[in-house]
């Protein structure tokens, strides 16, 4: 199977062609740089988490009222994140929201509601204003992908990055393979943007189908894993995210449901959310999830989403837009023979993901500075793999910031790339290809391996944690790591899944390690320690930072009042790194 290498040279490599990756590619292309996007999907217009559509976009619009200004939202970010958030990066993201929104509109995205020929804005998830534009984003990603192609970005499709390459603390490329052709590539790049999304397929869900996930099941923490292996700093990895979904189908749609006014009721018909939060169903996602979990644990399940009280015009709008976030949602209700207008819909918590812990702006993944650059020189990150995340708006804005950051970085730095260490490249390829080559010793399937990770995470690293359970999980996950050389697959597609399975396991280990370190409970379901049931601001208003140590993950902390970049020891940190920390930041 081993073939010769294809070498690709580019100024900028973007790993992941979703919203964040495309939005990073655009400013780099506009600056005249060559850009290669490496993507597991086949078509840029429809890949990533919102390739099949999206119906909400969180943004400041400067429309007049005080709540619609960056300063107002920034002031509320600490309470939205329970005090653990990088305010420097978040402030820049919020300030750039209006500019990026207008730019996306020039790509052809229509954020206006045809009923009013205006923006239809709704409140949800504890936000202190109607920040979400509710819109028909069926073609949102298509317009952004088309713009990258229009600017002549190069797209390598059905291609998976296996490992990024770092020398002397500076990124210089990646090793990847095309799982349709079997071609192996070394991509030499002067700067790299990681935009490979969050970590899914990491726990069990109600349907028992691992690929039935709220967000893209092909996002498997590839960025986190590759960056961790090269020494990058990751943060907030202890926090899990879950949402509320119709039982049996982990689809998007909670935002539309709660912002349009649906209630959650328990088996007795009690509308229980106000017991948990004075915002009721408009509480933050992590709080809604924790409330539903608690009701189930109290024996008050099944829990239902109830729309029966809503006026006809709202129900009509909900029905008409049911397919915007997930094209197959109407088919699901139809095949289930369920009419959500007349019957409550039984709900479940979704599977877990490592993403942004059910709150906006606190992302779980690569720590980045105000330019989107990570702790490794020339390595940037954006979207759901970065330390500031906020849905497609967060991905759009931080992606755009990272793309501009790359352009500035390459203006100020030597763009020369070192020669690829072919010995390392060959070793990486040989190690991967060994999974596909006949070997009697290897008989472990990636499905079986992943199932064990999911069972372990669900039982001991999920929404209810304690020290003993986390230790048991870590022991299991380390034992599973030792078996990874035995992973066997028959084809190139399976080889991609093997890579994903090992990345998922590594991320589960990082999550369990960080969860063990945080000896408190914070943000509803996202970190609930049964042995430390209270939030402890005195000792734990801190980031947990995780990096590769000599014997596995090494944990340190940083006061959450500091920017994460304080921890960076890059050679080329600009002296004015903090220049964009705004006075309005708390």
């Amino acid at each position: 199977m081993t073939s010769s290498w294809r070498t690709v040279d580019t100024d900028v490599l973007v790993i992941g062609g979703g919203v964040a990756g495309c939005m990073a590619a655009i400013p780099a292309l506009e600056a005249g740089l060559s850009v290669v996007v490496c993507e597991k999907g086949k078509v840029l217009d429809h890949c990533g988490s919102v390739g099949c559509g999206v119906d909400h976009y969180l943004t400041i619009m400067d429309s007049g009222p005080e709540w619609d200004t960056p300063e107002f939202l920034i002031k509320h970010v600490p309470e939205l994140t329970d005090g653990i958030v990088d305010m420097a990066v978040t402030s820049r993201v919020i300030h750039e929201m209006p500019k990026v929104l207008r730019k996306i509109e020039t790509f052809g995205v229509n954020f206006k509601d045809p009923r009013y020929n205006d923006y239809y804005r709704l409140r949800s998830f504890g936000l202190p204003g109607t920040y979400h534009i509710n819109f028909d984003g069926t073609e949102f990603k298509k317009h952004i992908g088309q713009h990258v192609r229009k600017l002549k970005g190069t797209v390598l499709t059905r291609t998976m990055a296996v490992q990024i390459l770092v020398e002397d603390g500076r990124i210089y490329g990646t090793i990847a393979f095309n799982f349709r052709t079997g071609e192996w590539l070394v991509i030499r790049a002067a700067a790299v943007v990681l935009a490979a999304g969050e970590v899914n397929r990491i726990s069990l869900n109600a349907s028992g189908n691992a690929f039935d996930s709220w967000h893209c099941p092909y996002n498997t923490g590839d960025a986190h894993a590759m960056a961790y292996r090269t020494g990058a700093l990751l943060t907030n990895m202890e926090f899990v995210e879950t949402t509320i979904t119709p039982k049996g189908f982990s689809a998007q749609g909670l935002n539309a449901l709660v912002s349009e006014g649906a209630y959650f009721i328990n088996k007795s018909g009690e509308r229980f959310m106000f017991k948990y939060d004075d915002k009721g169903e408009n509480a933050r996602r992590a709080v809604i999830a924790d409330a539903v979990i608690n009701e189930y644990l109290l024996g008050n399940g099944p829990i239902y989403a109830d729309c029966r009280h809503l006026p006809e015009d709202i129900l009509d709008h909900m029905e008409a837009t049911l397919q915007v976030d997930r094209y197959t949602m109407p088919a699901f209700y139809e095949q289930k023979a369920l009419n959500f207008r007349e019957e409550p819909v039984e709900v479940s918590i979704s599977e877990l993901s490592i993403r942004r812990s059910g709150v906006y702006f606190r992302g779980s993944g690569l720590a980045v500075d105000t330019d989107g650059q990570t702790s490794i020189d020339g390595l940037f990150a954006a979207g759901d793999c970065a330390s500031v995340s906020g849905g497609i708006a967060g991905a759009s804005v931080l992606g755009h910031i990272a793309g501009e950051g790359v352009a500035t970085f390459l203006k100020n730095h030597d763009g020369a790339r070192p020669e690829i260490d072919m010995e390392e490249a060959n070793a990486t390829r040989d190690q991967a290809m060994a999974h596909i080559q006949a070997d009697e010793e290897r008989n472990l399937s990636w499905r079986n391996h992943e199932d064990k990770v999911r069972q372990t995470v669900t039982n001991y690293v999920g929404v209810r944690r304690n020290k003993k359970g986390l230790q048991l999980a870590l022991d299991t996950l380390l034992a599973l790591a030792k078996r990874e050389p035995e992973l066997k697959t028959d084809d190139l597609h399976g080889l991609m899944r093997v890579q994903e399975a090992t990345n998922i396991r590594l991320n589960a280990e990082l999550m369990a390690t960080a969860a063990m370190a945080r000896e408190e409970t914070r943000t509803g379901s996202s970190h609930h320690r049964l042995d430390y049931p209270q939030s402890d601001d005195t000792n734990w208003r801190k980031f947990i930072i995780i990096e590769k140590g000599e014997d596995g993950p090494s944990v340190s902390t940083l006061a959450a009042s500091e920017p994460l970049a304080t921890k960076f020891t890059r050679k080329n940190v600009p002296a004015d790194n903090d220049r964009k920390i705004l006075k309005s930041a708390v």
Partner: protein, 89 residues
């Protein structure tokens, strides 16, 4: 338990125009169609890795594709409390 052979992507061979778009759009690399051959049908090679996103159905120019949910999704019997963790004393 999961029916391992459930195929969520039903392609009507009588209607399919063998155009390649479903292979092209699938984010999970599940559907394989021989390129430049108008005689062969697309094949769902990895049905158990489907996200149920419906992109294949949405892009099919002749509505030859229907997404069919399996019994464990339509009529899910899972006790939600089994997803909420085990307490190790």
């Amino acid at each position: 338990m999961t029916d391992p052979v459930h195929n969520p992507i039903k392609i009507d061979p009588e209607v399919c125009v063998k155009c390649n778009l479903c292979d092209w759009i699938c984010p999970g690399d599940l559907i394989y169609k021989e390129e430049d051959n108008r005689e062969t049908l697309p094949e769902v090679v990895y049905p158990d890795e489907c996200w149920y996103c419906g992109l294949c159905q949405s892009i099919c120019p002749v509505d030859a594709i229907t997404v069919i949910f399996p019994e464990q999704m339509i009529n899910c019997k899972t006790d939600v409390t089994t997803l909420l963790g085990k307490l190790v004393e």
